[in-house]
Amino acid sequence: MERFAALLDALVYTRSRNAKLRLLADYLRETPDPDRGWALAALTDGLDFPAVKSSTIRNLMSERIDPILWTLSRDYVGDSAETASLLWPNPETISNDPPPTVSEAVDALALMTRANVMADLPRLLDRLDAEGRYALLKLATGAMRIGISSRLAKTAFAQAFDVSVEDVEEHWHGQEAPYRALFDWAAHGAEAPSSEHLPLFRPFMLAHPLEDAQLDLAHYAAEWKWDGIRVQVVRVAGHTRVYSRSGDDISGTFPEIAAALEVDAVLDGELLVRGVHQGGEEGGAASFNALQQRLGRKLVSKKMLADYPAFVRLYDVLIVEGEDLRPLPWLERRARLEALVARLDPGHFDLSAVIPATDFAELAAIRERARDDAIEGVMLKRRDSPYLAGRKTGLWYKWKRDPLLIDCVLMYAQRGSGKRSSFYSDYTFGCWDGDPDSGAELLPVGKAYFGFTDEELKWLDRYIRNHTVNRFGPVRETDKSLVLEVAFDSVHLSKRHKSGLAMRFPRIHRIRMDKPAHEADRIEALKALVRN
């Protein structure tokens, strides 16, 4: 448990992704089974001990400390498990037992019931120091919240044992903690765990940005890139799952999709919600903003299902009725997909159309004319490309619509983290709420922390230090003299922002040293770009 506690603390204090990966990989390589498997499950929210809830911590502490002192402490620390780990009294007799291992703790926690947890949990806590108690309580209550996504954990696993992350993704699903078979495969060269009868996630094929290249449409097919979320719908032996791009199971958020697939298959497509006329076809897809109403919900009300009905616009088919189509060329998979769609529920599945352009110039013209708000751009796929995990050069390209641009005024800046920790690199910018020459004010419209070069960052950092009028902790308020040209993908109405607007993917496009602040854009200009 000490090693796990040290890992947990190191992860809490480490901001760089690479450093986190290194910490996790070292731990996974150096820790014996089954401890490392339990730890992995704990870090990716895979453990649940019904007898231990956060109220258990409160109840345990109420027997050991005055309730007012507990409340004062808890309010200061802001986390019950951490507060309890610090307040836990030293045992009257020093325990002869060494600190429990992770698997010993997991076994003990699994055996606890509501009847004996108040007696058994203290016995574990008494054998640990403050860091160990924190780790144990976090593991027991399943509330890690230290920013380890399952994708990060899988990448670390791949790094630890020098295997490909695509293979890890493929074999991970369906395995249960402590993932013995997975470690045997990666660390000891055993056969990969079988996954034939499970609704598993298969790693997505991804695209490179097109940049300035022009492609020969004799070799590449073009189709629309839709502005929803990329999903994979998997059905095996009657079990259906919907997976997000990162491989997270989101079936619960979109139950109607999971219920609608009646053929055993693995499908790749874009999840969208149906909307009113958006400049695209009638009854087609609504903008990303509408889809956002459905994201991140664990429980979905009937009203949600009715107001924002979801469907999947299919791009590709990976497996159908046990036959793995991934090695086939795109052209053949496309034919199989078109045949398959005819058998699917048309209310929940349709086909992403191929764009009938004969050459690149025509495609560019079609892309330029596209007015459907649910279109994010164009995809170009090599007609002979197999379906391969990850981003492979030369096979798939994405060609997004040109970004929208607006001139904003820099209002606040905040220091970044990691390599940028001494630089003011997070910028809040605003637009005028009227005529700046008749006393209009700036309203913040967005935040961005990328888009600039290292040289520009240095320049901005110096500018901000020399134009600070106020400080609020790590934030500086500037004298609002600098105009930034901000690029963004779209803008939506939002009740959460004072300006009433929320930008998607804002980034610093250009520093407009030449432009005086009062010539920056007004809120109206931004509002005019809203697409509902």
């Binding site: 901001r15 200061y76 620390v77 220091r415 001494s422």
Partner: protein, 334 residues
């Protein structure tokens, strides 16, 4: 009958000793100030007369260039003030020169702890328990979650981070007065003999400590260091310099901070600290409550810090207590 100890009166800007017409650690200029220790929030300049230990006066002189009206008083020496008040300075164990002040008047004894700690510190003499009627104590870490681990444990953490990162330096944020010298002295005690590099703002205070007899070993300035000389070294800087431009010159530093606040993970994260070192020059919760038990005063007055929890503890232990709400004492960086 409860006594009211009306000859001493806490005001928001300091503690007024009325018959002697002097103030303890006043935050505004007065004719006569009794100063417990050299931290800027307690030892302000501009008083007519400043009574303090010679070490504290030397620190004030360094900080304010002059220290007019300096009245040195040695530890355990009793000074007669006007109005039948006497003052005795007793080691507080906080930083070099730090003192508790025992005030006696009309058969009553009042102890003002100033800032203090109960643990061993190689840079200053230890706190002494002084029986009294009223204990006026600080409560900077007056919450039961603050239990500082042994300093050896934290120094070992620092040294293992240094060993694990031979290409980087460990940059430790520490108060320029007291904390920095204690960290250096503890590193030396743990056998670390390599040069330790300083931010320019720390140099003079370290030199003063050495003049006053605290050996700190091989100290050098970051600004004098050749490129590449800092890898694998300990570098000390004031907390404010940790994430500022100054630190850009260092070789990919592991950012550490030596402070009692580092006990709480979110506090460390807010400071963007990678290696929190729980090293404090203030008493932790156990030391604060143990001090009340050891001194066993009729009343406990709490000057600054998290006084609510201390008041609650006193109530639970049937001890008379009150909070004074003095202003201007800040220990965000301790």
């Amino acid at each position: 009958m409860a006594r009211d100890f009306s000859w001493i009166r806490p005001e928001p800007w300091g503690i007024h000793v009325i018959p002697a017409d002097c103030w303890i650690d006043p935050s505004r200029p007065v004719d006569r100030a009794l100063v417990t220790h050299g931290h800027a929030d307690h030892a302000r300049g501009g008083h007519g007369e400043t009574v303090a230990t010679p070490e504290t006066l030397a620190i004030m002189k360094l900080r304010y260039a002059t220290c007019e009206g300096a009245v040195p008083v040695a530890y355990h020496e009793t000074l007669s003030l006007q109005g039948g008040v006497s003052a005795t300075y007793i080691p507080a164990g906080h930083v070099l020169g730090s003192a508790q002040i025992l005030l006696e008047h009309a058969g009553e004894r009042i102890v003002v702890t100033g800032d203090f700690k109960r643990r061993a510190d190689p840079t200053c003499p230890p706190f002494e328990v002084t029986p009294c009627d009223v204990l006026i104590t600080e409560a900077t870490f007056g919450l039961p979650v603050f239990r500082h681990p042994p300093v050896e444990h934290e120094i070992a953490k620092l040294l293992s981070a240094l060993a694990a990162n031979p290409d980087r330096c460990v940059l430790v944020g520490a108060y320029a007065l007291g904390k920095a010298q204690r960290v250096i002295a503890e590193l030396r005690r743990a056998g670390h003999v390599e040069p330790i590099y300083l931010h320019g703002a720390m140099e003079r205070m370290c030199r003063l400590y050495e003049e006053l007899g605290v050996d700190l070993g091989d100290l050098r300035l970051v600004s004098d260091a050749a490129k590449g000389a800092l890898a694998g070294r300990v570098v000390l800087a004031p907390p404010s310099a940790l994430n500022d431009r100054w630190s850009r010159r260092l070789p990919d530093p592991v950012t550490a901070m030596a402070s009692g606040w580092m006990r709480v993970r979110q506090r460390a994260r807010q400071r963007m600290v990678e290696l929190p070192l729980v090293i404090s020059d203030h008493a932790d919760w156990d030391e604060l409550t143990q001090t009340v038990i050891d001194v066993n005063p009729a009343e406990t007055w709490i000057t600054h810090g998290r006084e609510e929890a201390m008041l609650r503890w006193c109530q639970l232990h049937q001890r008379r207590a009150r909070a004074l709400a003095l202003v201007g004492y800040e220990d965000e960086d301790d």
